[in-house]
């Protein structure tokens, strides 16, 4: 369980995190989503006591991080795949980490195997690929068998095998009743593995809800897509009852404000043959773009205002 209350972080005149309040619950995978510079990493660093909040507080498993007796056994942390001294071997790094908590060598070997690092564990970390460094970060996070995991962009740099592996691992951790909190800028990645999402933009909370609820809130959610033999007449009829219609190509319409049943019935009444009829489900991408539309800090100047 992670509790964030009125969390604020200012650097000079910039406010990186602005009054964030949310709770990450056990037994679920919670995604932490936001554009670059939204304050995700800063928030995670404050949760584990590496950065000091300007205001507000964070608690992990009911305690302030600094007050945890055995942090590695309470919270597994992976903040940056490159937070290891490059001159150390994976084995040496994990062993040194284990010793701070009196964790035995057998557990170190176990997480090395678990993360698939068995063949490279005696090599120095400086020569690792990003994917291997990520696996080492995850091995380190799991070392103390913690009930809470905080992972910053864990999927970054992993090959497709690795992506599948971590997705299954996160699911298993959550099903085991643990709290799993991971940030990502890859929305489809979160759509695949998260149960809940916390969305922030410019340091402010934009959404904190079930993944499905957030997706359903997308403006495109509930749009009916219809391909028919007479788009023009069908569009006229739909507009006549107050629906919004957008033509997509020559024979496809996207209608919002009417159910698929209503559109189908109307077409039958008008004697128009319906070739395809479907309801567009919102995607996390769309929900995210809607939510962050006003909260993107860096938007490429070339694309701003240029219509499609």
């Amino acid at each position: 369980m992670i509790e964030v209350t009125d969390l604020t972080k200012r650097y000079g005149s910039t406010t990186a995190v602005d009054g964030l309040t949310f709770t990450v619950r056990p037994g679920a995978v919670t995604g932490f989503l936001g554009p670059n510079g939204a304050g995700k990493s800063t928030t995670m660093r404050m949760i584990v006591g590496l950065a000091r909040p300007s205001a507000g507080s964070t608690r992990v498993n009911g305690s302030r991080y600094a007050e945890l007796r055995a942090p590695l056994q309470e919270v597994g942390v992976m903040l940056d795949g490159r937070s290891v001294h490059p001159g150390r071997t994976a084995y040496g790094h994990l062993m040194a980490l284990a010793r701070t908590h009196g964790i035995g060598r057998a557990r170190v070997l176990q997480v090395i195997e678990l993360a698939g690092l068995g063949s490279v564990a005696r090599r120095r970390v400086g020569g690792y690929s990003l994917g291997m460094a990520q696996r080492l970060g995850i091995a380190a996070a799991l070392l103390g068998d913690p009930p809470t995991l905080i992972l910053d962009e864990p999927v970054n740099g992993l090959d497709p095998d690795g992506v599948m592996w971590i997705r299954n691992l996160l699911r298993e951790l959550a099903d085991d009743g643990r709290t799993v909190f991971l940030s990502s800028h890859l929305m489809h990645e979160l759509a695949e593995c998260a149960d809940r999402v916390v969305v922030i933009g410019q340091g402010r909370l934009l959404a904190d809800d079930d993944l499905d609820t957030v997706m359903a809130r997308s403006a495109r959610s509930g749009v009916v897509r219809v391909r028919s033999t007479d788009s023009a007449r069908l569009a006229g009829a739909a507009r006549g009852v107050g629906a919004t219609v957008r033509a997509v190509g020559t024979d496809v319409l996207e209608i919002s404000g009417l159910s698929a049943e209503a559109v189908g019935a109307a077409a039958a009444e008008l004697g128009i043959a319906v070739l395809e009829l479907s309801t567009v489900a919102g995607t996390l991408e769309e929900a995210y773009l809607d939510l962050t539309a006003g909260a993107v800090e860096y938007r490429s100047g070339a694309t701003t205002g240029s219509g499609r």
Partner: protein
């Protein structure tokens, strides 16, 4: 759950917690796991011993010039042999920040004072053992050098113990000072430049005025000097800090640097 990705954890400690002993154990392993540590230690030992052996071939000055003291000849190389240890101290502190590993270290050990204290103990122990080994090697090599026959190692001469014991103590304190500077500055190159300046300032300022004696580099020079030299300097009326007191001055410098490191560690973000 088809594939059991998560086996039941083994070898978790019966007693939970992050005590100083555990963190020292961890820091010790971290330090010796690095090639730079092994190089620094080996270079310090080799430099001290080889410089002593080479001095033992000095037929120009002869045993008289070395006060017939094996200890004095052995300690002669420490001024240069300290440099690898200073680099080691700096890297132990600043390296955590330049490589980003401080994140891992401080997430595992959130009590920053404990994390720092463990580093101080580790660096001090490494430097002490290294200096003792270096001086032992230097004495052994000096003894079998040409001058060696005319040199003696007397425990009761009043200065052999000072040169060897004081030399090792000064080296240890200098390494701790370097750690503190590295931890406070967080940038290896700047910290190394600062430390070399502090460690060698004595050479530039020697005899210039009374200022040098208040600098950290003074201790190593005075504790390894012969009584004649100390008497000479004292007779010039400028120097009030004797060899043992200069170790105290150096200890205060080390304490100041470690305190600054502690303040920065507690106050600022990682």
């Amino acid at each position: 759950m088809t594939a059991a990705l998560l086996p039941a954890a083994v070898a978790l400690p019966a007693r939970r917690g992050v005590g100083l002993a555990r963190v020292v154990h961890s820091e010790w392993a971290k330090s010796w796991g690095l090639r730079s540590t092994r190089w620094a230690v080996a270079t310090t030992i080799a430099l001290t011993a080889v410089l002593a052996a080479m001095t033992g071939f000095d037929s120009l000055v002869g045993a008289d010039g070395y006060g017939h003291s094996l200890a004095y000849l052995a300690g002669g190389g420490l001024l240069f042999a300290q440099l690898p240890l200073l680099v080691h101290g700096v890297l132990t502190g600043a390296g955590e920040f330049s490589t980003g590993s401080a994140t891992t270290t401080l997430a595992a050990v959130p009590r920053r004072t404990v994390a720092l204290l463990a580093k101080v103990i580790t660096v001090a122990a490494t430097a002490a053992v290294t200096s003792i080994a270096a001086l032992a090697g230097a004495v052994a090599l000096a003894r079998i050098s040409p001058l060696g026959q005319d040199l003696a190692l007397a425990v009761d001469d009043g200065y052999s113990v000072r040169i060897l014991g004081g030399g090792a103590a000064a080296m240890t304190l200098l390494a701790v000072l370097a750690l503190g500077v590295g931890m406070a500055v967080r940038r290896p190159v700047i910290a190394i430049a600062l430390m070399f300046g502090l460690g060698l300032s004595e050479l530039a300022l020697m005899g210039a005025d009374g200022l040098a004696q208040w600098l950290p580099g003074h201790a190593l020079v005075t504790v390894t000097a012969l009584p004649d030299f100390l008497d000479l300097v004292a007779s010039m009326g400028e120097t009030v800090v004797g060899p043992w007191a200069s170790l105290g001055v150096l200890a205060l410098w080390a304490l100041l640097a470690v305190t600054l490191a502690a303040v920065r560690l507690r106050r600022s973000d990682v």
